[in-house]
Every structure is written in structure tokens, then in C-alpha cells.
């Protein structure tokens, strides 16, 4: 089954989707997560290394998908590994994407009810959000890509604006000494950043929809690079402004950074509302694409209509999002997802790539 030709996306759109998927909850929590593990101001190095690893993993996945033109991961691993093992791996991916969608929706609820809507029941927040996303998804991948193309530039412009406003309380001393405790803390900080780089795996699916699948490597590299740069700016600004010790005590350090300065003279003296606006849009995009990927996988795995998958799985994601009892459990859930991602995204595509090469070699 070759995918519908009319629903194709350009290389730029693929890059934008990768970027949008990556930018999610991580923006708000990354400085704390990385600082907790590393304990030194060098976490920006950890983020850089993490980003490089993510790009490497992305390249592997892009190459893998490129060698199966027109097929998504759910389709080609069936032909590579047979119906049962392939199906099992597909199912793992699908469950993973669903968990991710649930996690994102829950993180959205937490932040929204903390900063914007005290007292509004979380089910109302979640349901409204899920319907808006569903409306977009029923249009297929192309409208999704187009909407993301609107969201990403808005995000980048507003985000950079808000971050650079933070220069008023930025102190370079907070980032010193560089490598004061050697390189080991940096490495320790790499793994916890994994959750922030969840999202590159979407290229496994996107390549099948690209007009020029040959350029999928380019798309994933550019898409990830944009995110790595934004993350680097975030970590440097937040740690520079709040110091490592300050970051550790804050649940959402990036938001706290933005709340901690006021610039008189402009109409809005406080910028957290702007940050929240773009953050909600980012969560929307991450959630939409992971939900879409999961539904697409399910429909391809079981050969059922995509639209009915989209509708049928709403309650599933709703229930997943309600499982974590509190914020600590939610973050633990996030860590679990990050760890899963390392195996699912790091190891399986590599194995599949080797298998593809080997099969091609034995055939030719």
C-alpha cells in the first residue's frame, strides 16, 4: 500500500514537523532536569551533546525510512521482520506514541491550571484541547504540516524575544566555571535530556509522505538543529539568570525566569503570558503529531480506517493523561518515556537498518 499521493509534504514541512514535535514540555523543564543530573553549570554542554546524539539517531532513522520509499515504519517492519515480530514492534511504537500524547496533554493541564486557569476542572481543559486537535487531524497530514508552519515561526520569534528580554538579569558568573568538575557531570546530564529530544522518531513516518524522500536526512538534521539551538539558548539563559541552585528548586524554571523580570516602558511589563501562549501552541503541535502518528500506526497495523482510529482513541488518551496522580508521578512517567525512547528510537531503527542493508545485499 503506497500512501495517498495527494497528502504529500515538502522537505521544509517535514523539518518543521520534526522541530515542532521536539519543542514541547522540554522547553519548560529541561534546565532543571539537566541541572539535577549534572549539578554543574555545564549543562549546556550536555544539551549540545544530547542534541548531537539526537541528530545522529535522526539520521539513522531517516536513512532507514529512505530505503523503504512510500512506506511508514509500521508498514516496512512487517515486511522486514514478518507479521508477528514486526507487528509487535509496531505495537510498541504505537503504544509509545499514545503514552507520549497522554503525557503531553497532562503536562499542558498542569501548567495551564497552575498559571492560567486556577479552578477550572482539568477534564474541561483536556477535552477542549483534544477536540481542537482532532479537528485538525481529520484533514490529514498536509493541514497538520501547514498549521505547524504557522506555529513554528511565531514560536521562534516570540520565544527569542522573551528570552533575550531576560538579559536584564543574566549574569555570566552563573555559568562559570566551565568544566570546573571535569567532564563527567556533563555526561551524566546527557541522559536526562533525552525526553526533551523525543520526537526525532517522527521521521520514521514522515519520510513516507515526503515529496522527495531522498531529502529526509536533511529534514531531520535541520529540524533537530533548530530545536537544539533553542534549547541551548534556554539553558544558557535560565542557568545564567537563576544559577544552578536556583534552577533546582523550581518546577518550571523557564517560566520562573520570565516571571522574574519586569521591563517597564513596554505595554506588557511581564512576558509570561506570551511564553505560555507559544508553549501551549507547541504542546498542541507535539500532541497532535504524536496522536496522529499513533492513530496512523494503528490504522495501518490493523487495516482500519484512519478517521475511525482518530475518534476511537480519544478516550484512551484521555485516560492515559489522567493516570499520573500528581506532578511527581507525571515527571516519573516522563522519565520512563525518555528511557523507552532510548531503546525504541536508538536501538530498533539501527537494527532495522542493518537488516535492510543485509536483505538488500543478499538479494543483489
Amino acid at each position: 500500500m503506497i500512501n495517498n499521493n495527494t497528502d504529500q509534504i515538502t522537505t521544509a514541512q517535514a523539518a518543521v514537523i520534526v522541530s515542532n514535535f521536539l519543542l514541547g514540555t522540554g522547553v519548560l523543564t529541561l534546565p532543571r532536569v539537566a541541572a539535577e543530573a549534572a549539578g554543574t553549570p555545564d549543562v549546556w554542554l550536555s544539551v549540545l551533546i544530547g542534541g548531537m546524539i539526537a541528530i545522529a539517531a535522526g539520521i539513522i532513522m531517516a536513512v532507514l525510512s529512505k530505503s523503504h520509499p512510500g512506506l511508514t515504519v509500521f508498514q516496512y517492519n512487517k515486511s522486514l521482520l514478518g507479521k508477528w515480530i514486526g507487528g509487535l514492534i509496531s505495537a510498541a511504537f504505537i503504544i509509545y506514541f499514545f503514552m507520549l500524547a497522554g503525557y503531553q496533554v497532562r503536562a499542558l493541564t498542569e501548567v495551564t491550571s497552575l498559571f492560567l486557569l486556577e479552578g477550572t476542572p482539568s477534564w474541561a481543559i483536556i477535552i477542549a484541547f483534544m477536540w481542537v486537535s482532532l479537528y485538525l487531524m481529520t484533514g490529514g497530514l498536509n493541514p497538520i504540516a501547514r498549521l505547524f508552519e504557522i506555529i513554528l515561526p511565531l514560536t521562534i520569534v516570540i520565544y527569542l524575544f522573551v528570552m533575550f528580554m531576560g538579559f536584564s538579569i543574566f549574569e555570566l558568573d552563573n555559568l562559570r566555571p566551565v568544566l570546573g568538575q571535569g567532564f563527567m557531570p556533563v555526561l551524566a546530564g546527557v541522559k536526562p535530556t533525552a525526553l526533551s529530544f523525543i520526537g526525532v522518531e517522527i521521521i520514521l513516518i514522515l519520510t513516507a509522505f515526503m515529496k522527495q524522500p531522498a531529502k529526509s536526512v536533511k529534514a531531520v538534521v535541520y529540524g533537530t538543529a533548530i530545536t537544539v539551538i533553542l534549547y541551548l539558548i534556554t539553558v544558557i539563559m535560565v542557568i545564567g539568570a537563576l544559577s544552578v541552585d536556583g534552577v533546582l528548586t523550581r518546577t518550571w524554571p523557564t517560566l520562573d525566569l520570565v516571571r522574574s523580570f519586569e521591563l517597564p516602558g513596554l505595554i506588557f511589563e511581564r512576558f509570561e503570558s506570551l511564553l505560555l501562549v507559544i508553549w501551549i501552541m507547541q504542546i498542541y503541535s507535539s500532541y497532535t503529531i504524536s496522536y496522529y502518528a499513533a492513530s496512523l500506526g494503528l490504522s495501518q497495523l490493523l487495516n482500519i480506517n484512519l478517521t475511525s482510529c482518530l475518534f476511537a482513541l480519544l478516550p484512551v488518551v484521555y485516560i492515559i493523561s489522567n493516570i499520573p496522580k500528581n506532578l511527581d508521578v507525571l515527571f516519573a512517567f516522563g522519565d520512563l518515556l525518555g528511557n523507552t525512547a532510548i531503546y525504541l528510537v536508538g536501538c530498533i531503527p539501527f537494527a532495522l537498518l542493518l537488516l535492510t542493508k543485509w536483505k538488500k545485499g543478499s538479494r543483489g
Partner: protein, 483 residues
């Protein structure tokens, strides 16, 4: 028809007995002894033409009966340019009803149908709904031939094509699809033609009927076909590779496909120098955003997050609202609905009273409402800014879309505050990116990214830089210059 005049006339009388405006005028063909009659509709046919070139010529024939043949009449007597033959009464009566004059002569079994239709058309005037400071003052009128002539007269262009189609089952009307042969995408022209041919309705009153019958999505609040009274706008659209539809009897031409960016463009952007054009266009985008979201922002800040606005401002807003008995949503709804009613009433009023009404409504009611403590003064400012901003949208139909839409985020804001407004924005974006107008994504050129088209989107780049037609329209000839 047979060759006996009297029998023919009684047949004609029988067939036209329900048309009291049909005139049958018998006469003698000079001194030849032959008789004839003309049939025409009072008011539709040109009396002067009939008197001077038909009756006078026929009545002053000085030849004998035998030499009066059909060819003689056609070639030597009637000095009119449009002349056809009809072999039956049923064939010529529809033509007579459109203004032609039928000539029946004793001894001829065929009638001559002479084009005498005289359409009373309005002069070419300045379009009222799309006034410009700079630009041509000509607007379309209700006569199709005048309108096509306006397009033809724009400049010598052998590739400007007019495709004529009749629409309406009972009242057949001429409709013309205009495009430029070596620019417009043939698939687009074919798609427009296909949709126009599918129109199945007994009467097409105005081009608005056509618009609604050929649009892509009837549930969308956005116009998917642009209507305009300005020939220059139509020409510009044709030159970009779009297709125009002109209908007889209306000064509003349609342009398809529409993309979102067109709604906020004005021909003046191109007539003024590029800096002014760019800034005005950016201003309009800003105005559109204000008119869409300001009331919603007011509601969400008042009801949910006074903490997000600067403290001093928050204090003064809250202070001004002391004593207002309604929630911010009800308060905003009262004022917004009031201003919509005012605007609607202002449209219906005779011209001299309109402005007075605006003053009475806007100033006095607003002032009194504040004095009475029903609404807060800040809200009056918000509503006024919103209304003024919505007037900055150059297209009436696009303005209506925004006027309708701005009530939706108000409710979203009342339910979810800023979060609701963001969801509304996402919903709106999702709708726009899903929408297509004749196969062209509505959101283009914004998305999918077509950087070369962005020269004429938020910005209006200097003329020398805009040498390409919009990429999104897949034109046959991409360059706007000598080949």
C-alpha cells in the same frame, strides 16, 4: 409559418396574447402593394432605429411586387447590422422578448429578426463599496457588454479570453468566464467552467448566487470567491493567473481562487510607492488581529487573569469597572451587539442621516451607558477600537467574516480565559489550513512556504523585485516581463 401574412399575424396574436407589451405594427411596403408587419416589445426595442431604418426604409420602396425578394430586403432596404432569419414563430418570439424586432412580409415563409435591443445602462461610475484615493475611478455597471468592454479596453491583449455560458433555468442569463489564455492554469479554468456548468437553479439574481453555488465549503466563515466592482482589480487578478466571472445584471465580478492574503490587500498598495504600500498592509494585518481578538482579550483579562496585565493598568481597569453589574462577557456582548445594530442601521438610513445616526448611537449611547454604570469606560474604548479596526479591512465580505468571528473568541475567553483564546486561534488556523479555494490552499502563500510569493504578502516589495507571478497558482507563464 406559411406565406400568408394574415394567417401569420393571427397566429402571432394567439401566441402573444399574454404579453401585453408586444406590439404588432402592420404596414404597406411602399407603393408595391405588398403588406408586412413588425413585432417588437415596447420599451425593449430601440424605437428610433425601428422608425428610421426599418419602417421608413420599407415604406418608401418604389419597385414592383415581383422584385421584392428576401435578399432584396436584406441587402438593399434594411440598413441594420444585426439580422437573422427565423422559420417559425416559436423561434423568433424569445428573441423578440429580448428586444429584437421580427419582420414578417406577405409571401415570405420566413421572418427576419433584426437586432434592435437597446439596453439602458448606467454610466460607468466610481465604485461605491471599494473607494480608493488613488486609482482608476471606473467601476463595473449592470451591463455585461459594458463590463467586458472595460476589461478589453484596459490594453491590447490578444490572449484575454471570454468564455460565455448561460445560467439559470427559467431566466437565462449570460455569464462570462474571463481568463488570460497563456497565463491561467488550464486545470483551473476547466474547474471553474465545470462548477459553473453544474449550477442548476431557475434564477440567478446576482453574482452572489454564483459565488455560493461554486464555492468549496459552505460552512466556512471565509469568502472563497472574491467579489469586486473594480475592473483594475479584475485585471490584476487575471494577470496573476486567476479567473474572473462576470454576470449580466450586476456590477460585482467574481475572482477565484481566493487566498487569505488577498482579503487584506487593496489595489492602492500597488499604486502607492512600496514603502507606503507595505506599511499600510502591515497596518491592516494588525487591524484585522485587533478586530478579531480585542474583545476576547478584554474578557479573558478581566475574568481570569488580571495578574497578567501591568499592575497599574489592572488597577485602573478594575477601578473603572466598580459598580458594573454584569460579568465582563455580558458587558462586552451588550456593547458589541449594540455597535453591530448601529452599523446595520447606518447602512439602511438615507445618506444624509447616516452620520448623524452614528454620532447619536456611538457617542451618546456610549457615554450614557458609562454614566449609567452599565458598562465600563474601558470597554467602550475596546469596542470603539474594534469597530474602527474592522473598517480598515478593504473588502466588505472579509470584514463581515471578521465581524462574525470575533464573537466566538469572546465565548471561548469567557469559558477558558487566555487558554480559550489560544484554542480559538488554533482552531481558526486549523480551519484556514484545511480550506481550499479551487484547489489552492487558502492559507497560501503563508503556508506551505513559498518564499518567492512572500514578496507580495505581508510586504509589498518594490516593483522591480516582483517579476514573478504567484507560484501558488501554477501559471503557464511565470515571468512578468519580456520573454
Amino acid at each position: 409559418m406559411n406565406d400568408n401574412l394574415l394567417e401569420n399575424l393571427s397566429l402571432i396574436q394567439e401566441k402573444t396574447k399574454y404579453y401585453s407589451d408586444v406590439v404588432v405594427r402592420p404596414f404597406a411596403l411602399g407603393d408595391s402593394g405588398k403588406a408586412g408587419a413588425i413585432i417588437f416589445v415596447n420599451g425593449l426595442a430601440d424605437r428610433e432605429l425601428i422608425d428610421q431604418h426599418i419602417l421608413k426604409a420599407l415604406m418608401s420602396i418604389h419597385v414592383d411586387q415581383a422584385s421584392i425578394t428576401k435578399n432584396y430586403i436584406k441587402n438593399q432596404v434594411l440598413s441594420v447590422s444585426q439580422l437573422t432569419e427565423a422559420s417559425s414563430i416559436d423561434e423568433f418570439i424569445p428573441k423578440v422578448l429580448l428586444g429584437s424586432t421580427a419582420l414578417v412580409i406577405d409571401g415570405f415563409s420566413e421572418a427576419l429578426v433584426i437586432g434592435t435591443a437597446k439596453v439602458k445602462s448606467r454610466n460607468i461610475e466610481e465604485p461605491i463599496s471599494e473607494a480608493l484615493v488613488r486609482g482608476p475611478r471606473a467601476g463595473f455597471n449592470e451591463t455585461l457588454s459594458d463590463n467586458t468592454a472595460l476589461l478589453r479596453r484596459h490594453g491590447e491583449n490578444a490572449s484575454l479570453a471570454f468564455m460565455s455560458i448561460q445560467v439559470g433555468e427559467r431566466a437565462k442569463k449570460d455569464l462570462i468566464i474571463a481568463y488570460i489564455m497563456d497565463i491561467a492554469d488550464p486545470d483551473l479554468v476547466e474547474e471553474v467552467r465545470r462548477r459553473v456548468l453544474k449550477i442548476d437553479i431557475d434564477n440567478v439574481m446576482e453574482s452572489g448566487y454564483v459565488e455560493q453555488l461554486i464555492e468549496d465549503n459552505y460552512l466556512s466563515p471565509f469568502p472563497q470567491v472574491q467579489s469586486t466592482e473594480r475592473p483594475d482589480r479584475v485585471i490584476a487578478a487575471l494577470m496573476e493567473g486567476r479567473v474572473a466571472i462576470l454576470l449580466d445584471g450586476t456590477p460585482f465580478a467574481l475572482i477565484a481562487p481566493v487566498t487569505f492574503s488577498m482579503l487584506l490587500q487593496s489595489p492602492e498598495d500597488y499604486y502607492e510607492r512600496w514603502m507606503a504600500g507595505t506599511l499600510l498592509r502591515l497596518l491592516r494585518f494588525f487591524a484585522a488581529l485587533i478586530s478579531l481578538l480585542t474583545p476576547a482579550m478584554y474578557v479573558s483579562f478581566i475574568s481570569f487573569h488580571p495578574g497578567l496585565i501591568p499592575t497599574k493598568l489592572a488597577i485602573s481597569i478594575v477601578g473603572a469597572r466598580v459598580g458594573v453589574p454584569f460579568t465582563s462577557l455580558v458587558e462586552a456582548l451588550i456593547m458589541e451587539v449594540a455597535i453591530e445594530i448601529l452599523r446595520e442601521a447606518g447602512l439602511r438610513l438615507p445618506k444624509p442621516i447616516g452620520p448623524a445616526m452614528g454620532i447619536v448611537g456611538g457617542l451618546i449611547i456610549g457615554e450614557a451607558a458609562v454614566q449609567a454604570g452599565i458598562v465600563s469606560p474601558i470597554l467602550v474604548i475596546v469596542v470603539a477600537i474594534t469597530a474602527i479596526s474592522s473598517f480598515a479591512i478593504p473588502q466588505y465580505s472579509a470584514g463581515i467574516s471578521l465581524r462574525m468571528l470575533r464573537f466566538v473568541p469572546m465565548f471561548c475567553a469567557a469559558a477558558f480565559g487566555m487558554y480559550g483564546v489560544i484554542l480559538f486561534f488554533l482552531m481558526l488556523c486549523a480551519h484556514v489550513v484545511k480550506l481550499k479555494s479551487f484547489g489552492v490552499p487558502y492559507a497560501s502563500p503563508a503556508v506551505p512556504y513559498r518564499l518567492s510569493d512572500w514578496k507580495d504578502f505581508f510586504f509589498r516589495m518594490p516593483m522591480f523585485m516582483m517579476k514573478q507571478r504567484p507560484e501558488m497558482l501554477h501559471t503557464k507563464n511565470q515571468k512578468r516581463k519580456r520573454n
